[in-house]
Symmetry: C2
Subunit: 165 residues, 2 copies
């Protein structure tokens, strides 16, 4: 594993990426938010009540049938501004080195973010939702219904996070 100068400088650690990807994703729409620069984005998705919109491309619009019956959705989107090489990171607001897979940082081998959002309405191929924290224009990968029976674990713990409070 190779450390980049960037990694060595600030306590982070990077690896070389594989020579080529294993599969391809299609951007199926775009997410519209009030945030144009990373510094303006909320620290996490529950920090803002901003209504954001999800614009689904016409090609896929028929896939939205029945989505309006869901109170909450899982959105997957592509954090296209993020480095993909980091295996250890030092989040600025904590100052401790953690493994990438113990963090929700956008920097990860596959920069796919997952957010649970509250659905306000569906009009044609546009959804209005609350619960996003991403940059305006972020590419959309998927929309899924949120099932409390399989997706909700109210008593889940993240030990490293709990210990700092």
């Amino acid at each position: 594993m190779a450390s980049t100068d960037f990694g060595a400088r600030n306590g982070e650690k990077a690896v070389d990426l594989p020579a080529k990807p294993d599969a391809g994703v299609y951007f199926i729409g775009r997410i519209r938010t009030p945030w144009r620069e990373r510094k303006d984005c909320p620290k996490n998705a529950r920090e803002s009540d901003a209504v954001c919109t999800v614009e689904v491309d016409p090609r896929w619009a028929e896939g939205l049938k029945d989505v309006e019956t869901c109170s909450h959705l899982v959105l997957l989107y592509w954090m296209d501004q993020s480095p993909r090489t980091l295996v250890r990171q030092v989040p600025g607001h904590y100052g401790v080195q953690r493994g990438t897979f113990a963090l929700r940082s956008p920097a990860r081998p596959n920069p796919i973010a997952m957010s649970v959002v509250r659905l306000l309405k569906v009009e044609h191929a546009t959804l209005s939702v609350v619960g996003l924290d991403c940059l305006d224009g972020t590419p959309l990968l998927d929309i899924k219904p949120y099932f409390a029976s399989t997706d909700s674990v109210p008593d889940a713990q993240v030990g490293w996070h709990a210990r700092r409070t």
Copy 2:
């Protein structure tokens, strides 16, 4: 939008895929489960208590630091056996046509599955988890800590599903 013969035959509806993908994903490991054929897989992830293992490739193993402090994880994985063209589907056990984005079916434009799993242990680069329903050998895309504060919505409703019970 084009309907394939497959789609026309059984009430499903397919579209043409874009000419090329917009971005590439790396397979960062493999998921080992007891299920070798789709017919053997549980209908959903809470239906089985089987302990499955997640093998992370050596390249990415250092990213697992601190993951052992998490009680639950979000796993993203690639359903590489699924068609990507369907916008309307008729799930066999319901018999009603729904939009793809209102379903958790593996058939979707980007066949990325999301499962919330309970973490039993981490040994080197192998995780033991409960809560998967995928085929043995499924490629892994990402591991994230599950935060109840943002990811758990106990009272979420999927209207079309509730109405059938």
